[in-house]
Amino acid sequence: MKKDQAKILAAALYKASGDKKGKELDKVIANFSAYLSQHRLVPMIPNILGQLENIHFLKEGIIATKITSREELAQAEIKKISDLIKAKTKKEVVVKTEIDKELIGGVVVKYNDKIIDMSIKHQLNNLAKQLSN
């Protein structure tokens, strides 16, 4: 049960807040926080937030995309990639970026359960595999 708890709580919160606004929403959040502290679930908040995001994206048909690169990318470059994925999936795209020095160069794009690996590291690995055959 423990594993799915964050998911269940996030789903409950999403449903409860629904299309409420202003004071009403504050009340829901306050109640939810009280529930969490009462049941000693405060450490789960980061998990719940992550799940909440997932639920939101799923409901709204938004695709979360992660772009990993060695150096920080320019806005124009990110825009180009996100447009590409938008064209591919025909859905809204939200982009997150990450820096990984081990990639050597290039980028890795992740969305849904798909990966497009255009990093130099991956290509060097491929080359090594081909040469060893």
């Binding site: 849904n112 359960d113 798909k114 990966i115 497009i116 690996d117 255009m118 290509q123 491929n126 080359l127 081909q130 040469l131």
Partner: protein, 510 residues
Amino acid sequence: MSYDHLVKSLQKQLENWQSDVKEETAGEVIEVGDGIAKVSGLSDVMASEMLEFETKAGDKIYGVVLNLEEFAVGAIILGEYGALKEGDKVKRTKRILEVPVGEAVIGRVVNALGQPVDGKGNIKSNEFYPVEKIAPGVITRQSVFQPLETGIKVIDAIIPIGKGQRELIIGDRQTGKTALAIDAIINQKGKDVICIYVAIGQKESKVARIVAKLEETGAMDYTTVVLAGASESAALSYIAPYAGCSMGEYFMDKGKDVLVIYDDLSKHAVAYRQISLLLKRPPGREAYPGDVFYVHSRLLERAAKMSDELGGGSLTALPIIETQAGDISAYIPTNVISITDGQIFLETDLFYKGIRPALSTGLSVSRVGSAAQKKAMKKVAGKLKMDLAQYRELEAFAQFGSDLDEATKQQLDRGARVTEILKQGQFKPLLQSKQISIIYAAANGHLDKVPVANLAAFEQKLFSKMEAEGKDVLDNIEKTGLLSEADEQKLKNIINDLVELEEKVGEDKK
């Protein structure tokens, strides 16, 4: 090698290289343990597709998808899973699990994935067969009509096995199940039959001994050993028989005859039970999953005799089942008995009585084999079966000895002699013609005057005399499969001569 040359050759190799950037489907390991992994993502993966796990250290491990669930995929891991951690990357391969097949695997010891484990180098094979294959259909088959000679008197005479048949070898531990199967392999020498021995969950020492024996007898020239040892994961034990069957099917498709031995399927069922329970499939009788019957039926159904249009190849299956305390009504034994075309039942009591092979003639049957028996063998074995059946009925009275009437006593004597001549040493398979000559002597009452204790020696004398004086009779039987009137007369004369000699020696001793 000069520097320039090195650079040039590298350049040449790199010329053809293209960085192929593709969109890949990838997932993440959520949970791993006991040879099972749960993987998230991989929304478009196929059932029983191979997966590529990549550990943090960059090693690659393969797995096979067994469960497709709403949010995750359940997979078995083939190989060492110690290095695999939560969060590791998993990729699709878009291939169903397959093994190398062809001439290259003959004479080798391989694991369930077709990788060599005998230290004799790589297996160079361009052809691969999927591990799971649908069995040949009705139209592609024909009925079994050729004998698969095991070289064991009692089997070839009473429960003959045909090419394309599935005959179960069942019995307690230490009753000679494996020995029977190995004898059958050794006897295929020079008969153009490819043999595949699949060891499932067996002790490595036992397999090493078997391989050494096969090498010693020259049987390794036409045999492949597929090994999933007791120390390897259950996933490999589960895959092994299907892999062995695929290697056999290749030769069957080429129109050859193949003999596959699964040693043993009770351990295979246990391995599958482990996998199923870890994948949280509901347990049924004896905690086996509901589809354990299908696991074995789809494997054994792949044994077939193909029609002549398809090359007329055959795949004979000899599955082995180990029973607990002679209980053949347990779950797995009853399942496999109902799938196969007959069973060879080995009994502990008989084994310790010195009747080896310890075959219970009452409980063993062959449902199709007699159609495949050689004419000559059919002729002599018919009487033998009758004698044995009557002997079994009267055996209980044997202890009354002198109180019995003459006819009963004679039947008991006959039965004792038939039982005696059906004994056979391990690793001593016999030619059909020799089997026929000794069985002919016993079934027609020629041996009634020879003391039971002398029968083993008499058998040897008969064989050497037949080779010296009746070579043409033996050759005729081997060639035509018939026992003609003239040959029968000659055989009878040789037997009578020997019996007379035996009697004289007996009297002299007195």
